[in-house]
């Protein structure tokens, strides 16, 4: 337990001090929320922009932390031989993974503490029945799915390649994931593909949970659950520790 706690503290400390991590996990989401709530360029129809933007950016925030921050840090730790060295210490592999998961959750809490008040300040009013439990459930599933994707890439690619691929994937999922651009604006084939991705499942799920537009579609839960099983499983099989 002492090792797990120390590992969690060290990982969180490192994550929150990495400038590029803070930029992608907190900086960019805050800028997007403020900009797209105030500047009405998104085709949100009769829905206020902020109502559309905040759930989408919460989804982006989850993806930034669980996939980009976790994946790039783990890739570099692998490249620097840190993970290999830990293998010769009594720190057990399950403790290391538990510490990394807890670190992701801690950063997500920081994101929520920053983004939710910013959204409220911009006039966002979450609605619907039991928005918080549903949102938390979606976020947890998505965290596992995105974390699995991040580790899948980090476990096989060279660190610099992993960084590039992870950031590229982030951009693609940002555009195709319904976070800023409604899926209805995408061409038919692309929209169908997007619906199978965890990003769109999370953003539309959160929009339903927090926007009061009815219950979270079953499709969101199913797509996220499949990714949450498949991505970590693929990562566990393919991960090379050195």
């Amino acid at each position: 337990m002492r090792a797990l706690w120390a590992q969690l503290r060290a990982e969180t400390w490192m994550t929150l001090r990495r400038g590029e991590t803070l930029l992608v996990t907190v900086g960019i989401p805050v800028v997007f929320v403020v900009f797209f709530s105030r500047v009405h360029v998104l085709p949100t129809g009769r829905v206020p922009a902020v109502t559309f933007v905040v759930p989408g950016i919460l989804a982006l925030a989850v993806m930034s932390t669980a996939m980009v921050a976790l994946g790039s840090a783990t890739g570099f730790e692998r490249g620097y031989g840190v993970l290999k060295r830990l293998g010769a210490t009594p720190l057990r592999r399950d403790r290391l993974i538990a510490a990394k998961i807890a670190t992701v959750v801690a950063v997500e809490l920081v994101q929520a503490v920053v983004l939710v008040p910013v959204g409220l300040g911009l006039g966002w009013r979450p609605a619907g029945t039991a928005p918080v439990p549903q949102a938390v459930g979606l976020v947890l599933l998505a965290t596992v799915a995105f974390g699995g994707l991040g580790l899948l890439l980090a476990g096989v690619l060279a660190p610099e390649v992993n960084l590039a691929v992870t950031n590229g994937l982030y951009l693609v999922l940002l555009l195709l994931g319904g976070m800023l651009v409604p899926l209805s604006k995408l061409p038919g084939g692309l929209a169908a593909l997007s619906r199978a991705l965890p990003a769109a499942a999370l953003s539309s799920g959160l929009r339903a949970a927090l926007g009061g537009g009815g219950p979270v579609p079953l499709e969101s839960w199913v797509v996220l659950a499949i990714w949450a099983v498949a991505a970590p499983a693929a990562a566990a099989v393919s991960f090379r520790w050195e």
């Binding site: 002492r2 090792a3 706690w5 120390a6 590992q7 060290a10 400390w13 490192m14 001090r17 990495r18 570099f76 730790e77 620097y80 031989g81 840190v82 290999k84 060295r85 830990l86 293998g87 010769a88 210490t89 009594p90 720190l91 057990r92 050195e242």
Partner: protein
């Protein structure tokens, strides 16, 4: 029971045989150096003992445990300093040591370790901003924080300046004094000679020779006296006096093919005095370097000397 025991170890990477029938052992309180040119299998041997490599065959025991099967029981008792640091780049010595200390049941006090390894002044400097020598010392400190009974050090002095090397040597000697078994690798002969009680010379995955530096030196060419003076002395005349062949190669370095008796060294000194030549240095035993070159092959040593910078010796 030896602290480290390795019998007939064979390790393959696909088709390549990296280690081919290596047997060695090391006892508590002993410093054993595995010496050899690049690609000799030094790191692979050590990594097999640490449990990183699956042996194709052979028997490995560290503190009586199998490095892979008994991994969980073994790791609290060993310290590993990998060739590349393997330290979180953002962590300074204090944070890194405190983190690693948390992994072990009875860690050494981190403040004391920082002092002992000369890291107190840079305790808060992130790893990536430390000098090469400081990085190596922190890496060693991380290997020691769990109070290990056996320590594996892969190229501990690579990229370290002479003063840093002296400090590392002092720490390693102290470890052995306190009964720790130290197994280290190096491709530098002088380091092996200074650091280790015993040297195992490896080449192309096989052991060429093993023993103390003095024992190994005797494996070199036959008895000889080597001395250094001014260049261009009359080697034929001196040879006639000694009743032995005397050669000069390179200039100013002489070698008399004769057993180094006190009479012979006295005769050489007297002859030099007669000819007004200074005696700069005289060695009556064969040097370890000569033995090493004879064993490993001069071309291997030359190839290494030509490779650039402190990264030499890294295998992956």
């Amino acid at each position: 029971m030896p602290a480290v025991e390795c019998s007939d170890l064979v390790v393959r990477y696909g088709e390549t045989v990296a280690v081919d029938g290596v047997s060695l052992q090391a006892d508590a309180g002993e410093v054993v150096a595995v010496l050899g040119p690049n690609g000799a299998g030094k790191t692979t041997t050590v990594e097999a003992l640490e449990g990183y490599r699956e042996p194709a065959s052979g028997r490995l025991r560290v503190l009586g445990l199998d490095p892979r099967r008994d991994h969980r029981a073994l790791v609290p008792q060993i310290g590993v300093m990998p060739q590349r640091g393997g330290v979180y780049p953002m962590l300074g010595p204090r944070r890194a040591l405190e983190l690693f200390a948390s992994y072990y049941p009875d860690p050494a006090p981190t403040g004391e370790l920082l002092q002992r390894l000369g890291l107190a002044a840079v305790a808060r400097t992130p790893w990536r901003h430390l000098s090469g020598g400081e990085q190596q010392r922190l890496s060693l400190a991380l290997a020691l924080v769990g109070r290990p009974k056996v320590v594996f050090l892969d190229e501990p002095t690579a990229g370290v300046d002479p003063q840093g090397r002296a400090e590392l040597r002092a720490v390693i000697a102290e470890l052995a004094e306190h009964g720790t078994c130290v197994l280290l690798t190096t491709h530098e002969l002088a380091e092996a000679e200074r650091l280790a009680d015993r040297i195992v010379i490896l080449r192309a995955g096989q052991i060429l020779a093993e023993g103390t530096a003095a024992e190994l030196a005797r494996l070199g060419s036959g008895p000889a006296v080597r001395f250094w003076s001014r260049p261009g002395l009359d080697t034929a005349a001196l040879g006639a006096v000694l009743g032995a062949t005397v050669t000069e190669d390179p200039p100013a370095a002489y070698r008399a093919e004769i057993a180094p008796t006190p009479e012979v060294t006295a005769a050489i000194a007297a002859w030099l005095a007669e000819h007004g030549a200074d005696l700069v240095e005289l060695r009556t035993t064969a040097s370890l370097e000569e033995a090493y070159l004879a064993l490993v092959g001069a071309e291997a040593e030359l190839a290494e000397a030509g490779s650039p910078g402190p990264t030499r010796g890294r295998r992956r």
